[in-house]
């Protein structure tokens, strides 16, 4: 018997292109949740910056850039996407490998914001949700994470087990937007 074979969460259900919007699964690299211990937020941030070049993000923000990004991920927590988290950070924060826990999808195109307006109950207008802004919120019935990557591009994370539902919900919203012409 051969080696174990890896399968991506959205295999078989994405990509999708409907109208002017594309939903594409992305490989973000390692995902590590970073939860600083009591009183260690600054130390953890300094350690993270020293190791990976970006501090811990403030609430609803991201730091870093494509390939190495820290995404605010809820109360006292960030998600480092890209490199394996340097063990030096572990002195100040609980690190948990989440590389296989999330389905990561980019939604992009001129109507991407309209598509998300059908699924996400928070204000995603570019005036209030700028590039680099992030929210832990709902995607229809699912808990997830939404980050604006650019004027017409968003990063969506939902539980790996819900990848098929994500594809279904995105498809319905994309079709409804596209049908309006």
């Amino acid at each position: 018997m051969g080696e174990l074979v890896g399968t991506s969460p959205c295999a078989g259900v994405l990509p999708l292109t409907i109208g002017d919007v594309q939903a594409v699964e992305v490989e973000l690299g390692h995902l590590t949740s970073i939860a600083p211990f009591a009183g260690q937020a600054t130390a953890a941030s300094v350690a993270l910056e020293a190791a990976h070049g970006m501090p811990l993000p403030k609430a609803n923000c991201t730091t870093g850039k494509e390939g190495a990004r820290a995404i605010w991920f809820g109360r006292d927590m960030a998600l480092l996407a890209g490199p394996t988290c340097d063990p030096a950070v572990a002195k100040h924060a609980a690190l948990t490998d989440q590389s296989d826990a999330w389905a990561a999808v980019t939604l992009s195109g001129p109507s991407a914001e309209d598509v998300l307006a059908r699924l996400v109950p928070v204000d995603l207008r570019s005036v209030s949700f700028k590039r680099g802004h992030t929210a832990r919120t709902l995607l229809k019935h699912m808990n997830g994470s939404v980050t604006r990557l650019g004027p017409e591009s968003f990063l969506i994370l939902v539980f790996r087990s819900m990848a098929r539902t994500l594809a279904h919900d995105l498809k319905e919203a994309m079709e409804a937007v596209a049908a309006r012409g």
Partner: protein, 979 residues
């Protein structure tokens, strides 16, 4: 009758449609009501209770009479307002509540029997014999009354939900709304302008007003064009704001394209919007009220504003010979517009003695009133009482006006009450009723176009200031007519016949007076007694008149009498729209394991566990019943090795110096003493002392644990931990996060489990390095994972976890190896049998009403420490030996079938609710033992071991003699587990 040269319809675009099976032609821009009126069709429906012939009363969403059904089969859609239904090629509309036909409706017998059907009558009459109301009378009455019917099948149309955010929401696009949107849009605010109609402009499209020298509709179109060019303004037609809620949230329903019309692939019929606005301006206009007089509901009797709307917007004369009846100057314009369009006006009748009528060719009767009408299926004649005697006038249309009611509804959705204004004889919104919302224009009692424009612009300017935006300078207010609104109240014309107030609910002036006579004097009681203002109508047409009459009947003033509550939705919303997107698989997310595809490929039927889908069993060729598969799979585990996906169990990663203390506090037993590399079973209580959940927790490092929860309670336990940490133990330095999704985890169970794993793991295991309840890291082909020696089946077993991406691959390999060793995959049915044989509990037993004492785990409450639920669990009643406590049950003789949910009784007693001593929670056929077994709760259970009692399932009619036994049926001393 269509008038040449008038209307905002496209005569180059004829459209074919059907009403009541008869084909008609209308034009692009027509509603069903306008197209039918153009063809001289006045009869459009039958009334709710008396089956009275009715025609269209209004030209807007307040229409109470002309409700039709469209679509066929599953797509049938009832109660569509003909006034809001834009026609399209192929539209097929039918009247409702009429049989065999609209013209000859057999149920019109109700109208003859009206003295027996008045308000309150049947409640008092159909009371005997007792019980007949529910079984006979009510169903009969409900069948006789009513509106349209649903098809009973799933509607094929899809709807959706969406969210919108803006600085300013402008509700309504008449002169006030347009002026407000323009002012705010020019200042750069993010504006959302919503209009219920298919066309922006409100009354400007229905009147002959000029604004800035342009015809009203032209000015509206020009203004909308300017707004459309602004990037900061979004325009929505066919969108009705139906409710106002907290924090500037508004519900709105958008018809995406004409009602019922064909739409592009993937398109939706309606969108249910939640709009969050920093500020809102309500410019919803006003609704003209009818006058109550005898037989004022005949087809052809309409509100005056509707007659003008059909004429000016749709180029339709609502009759060949029209009379106008009103109590205000505004009504006079109806006669003016009709005469200007060449329609014969028979008379202008004004209830006021002192009036200054416009220049008209028709006779004008001041101080006169319409007292009755004739023409059952369509108006033929009206009776007029003038100062000089009575007069009958032949007309086929009567335009009536009792004045205007500002559309205050939305301002009442948060329990605001409107304020009475005597000068306009109506209610206006009370400022501040909805935080962040101001009102402008006719909905606020401003009835001239100029006043509306001014109010809209001023309201927007105030909002801009409030938001810190600056109005662009130099904007000039458009100029328009500013005629005063003169009115003298006229609620009902005196008379003895039935005069209709609420057309949709068939409520008359008599009904309201009767309510007062029977001492239902509060307006809320009157409403419930008469049904006035109920249901989808919400009193749009009738509320003010009804309460004015109630005030009169009870000798109080109108302000003292007050209004009933206008409730959302402002306009009816179908349940399919409220629940949009939640049909079928949209109802809830599906959580799929990594082995899902392989399980499906093996033909496994799936069962839902929370949101997860898990295989029930894996059928093989020749098996015709699930029990055969299940028994075989149990055999794998008991005799060889079985593989089962257990990834769905909740897994919570806890780290930090305070992790051990937190676990000691949430579990009844102790985890701080657990050695690194070992697993312990834990029991968790709620604050009230009852069992919350159970599972194993492994210690991976000095300050690192991973907790396992049951599948269904994973979310609840996570929430519980957050609560305990944040609210009860904030001093503990511990961090935790769910890792359920990170790991694919499989149970490998059975005497050959170690043999199977040792062919797979990079480092083989043995009983010394991996004894029962050991855990630690392992690797498969260099892929790091975790191994836990735990057992739910009671066999020598392991759970092996790898990062989820490898789950599918590992599952296939485990199953292939198991099959080669005489075993294979097992599903939930076998898992359940195995755990019941071993006496392991699930939420069937810890169902929320059982304690640790009940399940025989009282010794798990550590005496050395406190834990959540400990104190409450010690309450006298919760440790009473007489409580129902966990036992095993097996049939005497061995061949009886046991079922879960059966009740337990002493032998020889009548088996009733009162004599029940307990119940079964889990029951299966045990292939290992060859007979049924069950777990259950029995009063004093542990004291009754060996006794024979009876088990009776009243639902299934199953009865059995059972022996009370310990709940562990297989390997009670645990030798196999440790093997």
């Amino acid at each position: 009758m269509r008038i040449d040269g008038k209307g905002l319809i496209d005569r180059a675009q004829p459209l074919r449609f059907q009403f009541e099976g008869i084909g008609h032609t209308g034009f692009e821009g027509d509603t069903l009501a306008s197209a039918l009126l153009a063809k001289g069709v006045r009869l459009m429906g039958r009334s709710f209770k008396y089956h009275r012939p009715r025609g269209v009363l209004t030209a807007g969403s307040e229409e109470p009479n002309a409700l039709v059904t469209i679509g066929r089969g599953a797509a049938q859609e009832p109660n569509v307002r003909a006034t809001m239904l834009e026609i399209y090629d192929g539209l097929d509309a039918r009247a409702q509540n009429a049989w065999p036909s609209l013209r000859a409706d057999a149920m019109a017998i109700n109208d003859v029997a009206w003295p027996f059907l008045g308000a309150g009558f049947y409640y008092k009459t159909f009371m005997w014999p007792r019980g007949f109301w529910e079984r006979l009378y009510e169903p009969l009455i409900r069948r006789a009354a009513g509106l349209g019917a649903l098809s009973g099948a799933h509607h094929p149309d899809r709807s959706e939900k969406a969210y919108a955010f803006c600085d300013l929401l402008v509700i309504g696009s008449g002169p006030a709304g347009l002026a407000a949107a323009l002012t705010a849009g020019r200042a750069g605010a993010d504006v959302l302008l919503v209009e219920e109609d298919s066309l922006f402009g409100g009354r400007l499209n229905a009147e002959t007003f000029e604004v800035d020298g342009l015809a009203g509709p032209d000015w509206a179109a020009q203004t909308v064009a300017e707004l459309r060019d602004m990037e900061n303004v979004r325009l929505m037609t066919r969108t009705c704001v139906v409710g106002a809620y907290d924090h500037g949230t508004y519900a709105a329903v958008e018809r995406v394209g004409p009602h019922g019309a064909r739409r592009p692939e993937g398109g939706v019929a309606e969108t249910f919007w939640r709009i969050v606005a920093k500020r809102a301006i309500l410019a919803a206009g006003a609704i003209e009220r009818p006058v109550a007089f005898e037989n004022n509901d005949r087809p052809g009797i309409m509100t005056a504003s509707a007659v003008r709307a059909y004429l000016n917007r749709w180029g339709v004369a609502s009759g060949q010979r029209v009379a106008v009846f009103g109590n205000n100057d505004d009504a006079h314009r109806t006669a003016v517009d009709l005469e200007a369009a060449g329609v014969e006006v028979a008379a202008l009748i004004d209830s006021r003695a002192e009036i200054a009528p416009p220049d008209l060719n028709c006779p004008v009767y001041a101080g006169a009133m319409v007292t009755g009408s004739a023409g059952r299926l369509g108006l033929k004649r009206i009776s007029v009482k003038t100062g000089r005697g009575n007069k009958d006038i032949e007309v086929d249309c009567l335009a009536m006006s009792g004045g205007w009611n500002p559309t205050v509804h939305l301002t009442c959705h948060m329990n605001g009450r409107p304020t009475w204004r005597a000068d306009i004889a109506s209610f206006v919104p009370t400022p501040g009723s909805i935080p962040g919302l101001v009102t402008a224009g006719a909905c606020n009692g401003d009835f001239s176009t100029q006043a509306c424009l001014k109010a809209g612009a001023e309201a927007a300017a105030a909002v801009l200031k409030d938001l810190g935006l600056k109005a662009s300078g130099g904007a000039r207010l458009a100029e328009a007519e500013d005629s005063p609104y003169r009115i003298a109240p006229l609620w009902a014309v005196p008379g003895t016949g039935r005069a209709w107030l609420d057309f949709q609910n068939d409520v008359t002036v008599k009904d309201v007076k009767q309510a007062a006579v029977e001492n239902f004097r509060s307006v809320e009681h009157m409403k419930r007694y008469t049904t006035q203002g109920m249901a989808t109508d919400q009193g749009k047409n009738s509320n003010v008149a009804a309460l004015a009459l109630l005030a009169d009947a009870t000798g109080r003033g109108i302000p003292e009498t007050g209004t009933t509550t206008f409730r959302p939705p402002f306009s009816p919303v179908s349940l399919a729209t409220f629940g949009a997107g939640a049909q079928g698989i949209g109802f809830a997310p599906q959580r799929l394991t990594t082995s899902h595809g392989e399980s499906i490929a093996r033909g496994a039927p799936m069962i839902e566990a929370g949101l997860w889908y898990r295989p029930s069993y894996f059928p093989q060729k020749g098996e015709t019943h699930w029990r055969q598969s299940c028994d075989r799979e149990v055999g794998y585990v008991r005799k060889a090795v079985g593989v089962c996906d257990v990834s769905t169990l909740g897994k919570i990663d806890l780290q930090g110096p305070g992790a051990a203390e937190l676990l000691d506090f949430v579990y009844t037993n102790t985890f701080s003493t657990l050695k690194v590399g070992r697993v312990r079973y834990g029991l968790m209580l709620r604050e009230d002392g009852f069992v919350m959940d159970d599972g194993t927790t492994a210690r991976l490092g000095d300050q690192h644990y991973v907790m396992t929860t049951t599948t269904a309670a994973a979310g609840a336990v996570m929430r519980h931990l957050y609560f305990v940490h944040q609210a009860l133990c904030p001093h503990l330095d511990v961090r935790f996060t769910s890792v359920t999704e990170q790991w694919a985890q499989f149970a490998v169970a059975g005497p050959k489990s170690r043999e199977l794993l040792n062919g797979l793991l990079d480092q083989p295991v043995d009983n010394e390095t991996w004894p029962f309840m050991a855990c630690g890291d392992m690797a498969i082909g260099g892929i790091p994972g975790r191994l836990f020696r735990i057992s739910f089946s009671g066999e020598h077993a392991y759970e092996v976890a790898v990062p989820a991406r490898y789950g599918e691959s590992l599952f296939k390999r485990l199953v292939a190896r198991a099959e080669a060793m005489g075993g294979g995959a097992y599903g939930m049915e076998a898992l359940n049998v195995l755990r019941i044989e071993k006496g392991h509990i699930t939420h069937a037993e810890i169902h929320g009403r059982t304690t640790a004492f009940d399940i025989g785990f009282a010794r798990m409450l550590s005496a050395k420490k406190d834990c959540i639920g400990k104190t409450m669990a010690a309450r006298e009643g919760l440790v009473d030996p007489g409580r129902e406590r966990l036992v095993g049950l097996k049939p005497v003789g061995g061949d009886s079938v046991l079922s879960a949910g059966a009740h337990l009784f002493d032998t020889g007693v009548a088996m009733t609710r009162e004599t029940s001593l307990g119940y079964t929670t889990s029951a299966v056929f045990s292939p290992t033992l060859g007979h049924h077994i069950a777990l259950g709760f029995l009063q004093r259970g542990p004291e009754r071991m060996g006794e024979v009692i009876r088990c009776f399932d009243h639902m299934r009619g199953l009865e059995a003699e059972v022996e009370v036994c310990p709940p562990v049926f297989v390997d009670p001393d645990g030798g196999r587990t440790r093997g």
